[in-house]
């Protein structure tokens, strides 16, 4: 059986490498996500979460959605991960390395049950959504120009709504930060 497996590998090595290019980051993603949940040290958990973001970005790139993958890396690793880390450092600097319980409240069994229910619900929504019934596009990687046209054309309302939301958040943050400067 192993000989058959190796034969299929060597028959088309590029496809073999291409398959593992998707599988390996996916495995790393699951493991890092699990570690981020289980770890006691909060900063280690944040770094594992960052690793899972990076792995997700690589999965996107390997599946051909390069734009989404790069944006995932840029936004999640460059901004969101830093935000999480800053938030931890600025709000609870004394409780970081204390080995408190990583599972609070429900306990591991309860948490796994909730996670399983959420997974089933998500999979149900994904497989019954109208997107699953559309035919796959001819080429997996869309040029950035097409994505730009779609964003500015079909989905412009969503884009503008997100922009308004982000502006509101930015203004709110600036107002909150400014309040401390009372003489």
């Amino acid at each position: 059986m192993i000989c058959d497996f190796l034969k299929t590998c060597c028959a088309d090595p590029m496809k073999f490498i291409g398959d593992w290019f998707v599988l390996l980051p996916a495995i790393v993603l699951l493991l890092a996500g699990g570690a981020a949940v289980v770890m006691r040290n909060l900063i280690h958990a944040a770094l594992c979460l960052t690793l899972s973001f990076i792995a997700l970005g690589i999965v996107f790139i390997a599946l051909g959605a390069e734009f989404v993958g790069f944006v995932q890396l840029l936004v999640y690793v460059g901004a969101v991960a830093m935000l999480i880390v800053f938030a931890i450092l600025l709000t609870r600097p004394d409780q970081l390395t204390k080995s408190g319980s990583a599972f609070s409240g429900l306990g591991p069994a309860g948490g796994a049950a909730v996670g399983f229910v959420a997974l089933v619900a998500l999979l149900g929504f994904i497989f019954t959504s109208p997107l699953a019934k559309k035919p796959l596009p001819a080429s997996a990687s869309a040029p950035v120009a097409d994505i730009g046209q779609a964003l500015m054309g079909d989905y412009v309302v969503a884009l503008l709504a997100i922009g308004v939301l982000l502006t509101a958040a930015l203004v709110g943050a600036a107002v909150i930060a400014m309040e401390d400067k009372q003489p």
């Binding site: 590029m14 960052t50 840029l74 830093m82 120009a145």
Partner: protein, 402 residues
């Protein structure tokens, strides 16, 4: 008219691959070998440039301060103007004891230099080194550059946190705040160039700056009003992203010792140093690609010089100006630095953005040039005057003692 020296690297690679193929090596191994050779060459060239830069920076800084730089370290008996200094520095770094504090986070402390160096080397893949000489011609190359460059911020935090040193954490947080603040003008300036060229691919952006107006003037973006401002914004933000003077508060020796790098010694410090310089070269390369015409020659009769020579010559020129700025300007304080990014560079980048759009939609004629100059010049004068008045030295008033 194509100089044979220009195609020489590519032809050499093809000759070697054909040689291997004639020995019956299968195709997929040839692909892997080709990739390895290209990667090795690019990394080798940039590490060589890093070594040369470390000594040339010291010599240029010295000359600007009316003294000699390192001019002793040579090879056997020849002094060679001290150009072997990086070899001596490398030997020193390797033989230094690698001290790790006992209470430091061992795994994170070890991984921080690695996580710093890998993105710095990875971004070199999308730069067009010459005509048809891009290691990875991605459709969204500019986006790849910034996405991978975001990994550097994680590394800075890891270095600052893992040292278990209050001052390192403070230095790391300041460094991240600086990098995040200056990333926005950097990305907007890059987007301006991408917008006018109509593509995110670096080779397309370089091609959009080709040709000569009126037969002899190059059509580089830096020679337009919006392009000049965008180039300056990109340059300043690049200085801040690579923690170079005058934005080197995170690693200034007189503040916070070395900030997030305090607890690193020996080879790990050398790797941080290397990552900083390679990142500086990478962002110089991107500046050259976006605004200075990439591998294009400035005048028609200079096309004889190979395109990769032009590219590396321009990178060296931009690096020289970075050293020149380091020799001239004092270090900025952290609140001045952040205020400069958010209150001056960000509005100027929006102004340049609008100016570029107006230039394009007004037809790129003389009226368009005047309009774009006005759209970019008026905010500059207003913001600049407001800024220099805001930070002008005024009579000190005391809040609590009277």
């Amino acid at each position: 008219m194509i100089n044979p020296l220009e195609r020489a690297p590519i032809e050499l690679l093809h000759w070697f691959l054909n040689l291997l193929g004639s020995f019956g090596v299968p195709q997929w191994i040839l692909t892997v070998v080709s990739a390895v050779i290209i990667i090795g060459t690019v990394i080798g060239v940039f590490l060589g440039l890093f070594a040369l830069m470390s000594v040339m920076e010291r010599k240029i800084l010295a000359r600007a301060q009316n003294r000699y730089g390192p001019n002793r370290v040579g090879f056997f008996r020849w002094r060679l103007c001290g150009l072997f200094q990086p070899v001596a520095d490398g030997i020193k770094m390797i033989t230094k004891e690698d001290l790790v504090p006992r209470t430091a986070d061992q795994v994170v402390h070890f991984l921080a230099p690695v996580v710093m160096l890998i993105p710095a080397l990875m971004v070199l893949a999308i730069l067009p080194y010459g005509r048809d000489m891009v290691p990875a011609d991605l459709n969204a190359g500019i986006l790849y550059f910034f996405a991978v460059g975001a990994g550097t911020e994680v590394a800075v935090f890891m270095a600052g946190w893992a040292s278990n040193n209050k001052y390192s954490v403070l230095g790391g947080m300041r460094a991240i705040a600086q990098m995040i603040s200056y990333e926005i003008p950097l990305v907007i300036a890059a987007i301006i160039a991408a917008m006018v060229s109509g593509s995110l691919s670096p080779s397309a952006i370089v091609a959009a700056q080709g040709g000569f107006a009126w037969g002899f003037l190059p059509q580089w973006f830096v020679l337009t009003p919006w392009g000049f401002v965008a180039c300056l914004l990109f340059y300043i933000a690049a200085l801040a992203e690579s923690n170079r003077s005058p934005f080197d508060l995170p690693e200034g020796e007189s503040e916070l010792v070395a900030g997030h790098l305090t607890e690193y010694s020996g080879f790990k410090y050398a790797i941080f140093f290397m990552a900083e310089y390679v990142g500086m070269f990478a962002v110089c390369g991107l500046l050259v690609t976006l605004f200075l015409g990439g591998w294009q020659a400035p005048l028609p009769f200079l096309v004889v010089v190979p395109t990769w020579c032009w590219f590396f010559g321009k990178i060296c020129f931009v690096a020289f100006t970075m050293v020149w700025v380091r020799a001239t300007l004092p270090r900025l304080r952290i609140d001045h630095m952040l205020a400069f990014a958010w209150k001056f560079l960000l509005p100027m980048s929006f102004a340049a953005f609008i100016s570029a759009a107006c230039w394009h939609y007004a037809g790129r004629g003389p009226l368009a040039w005047l309009l774009s100059l006005a759209i970019v010049g008026v905010p500059y004068l207003i913001l600049g005057t407001a800024f220099s008045n805001r930070f002008a030295v005024s009579r000190r008033t005391y809040q609590f003692s009277e």
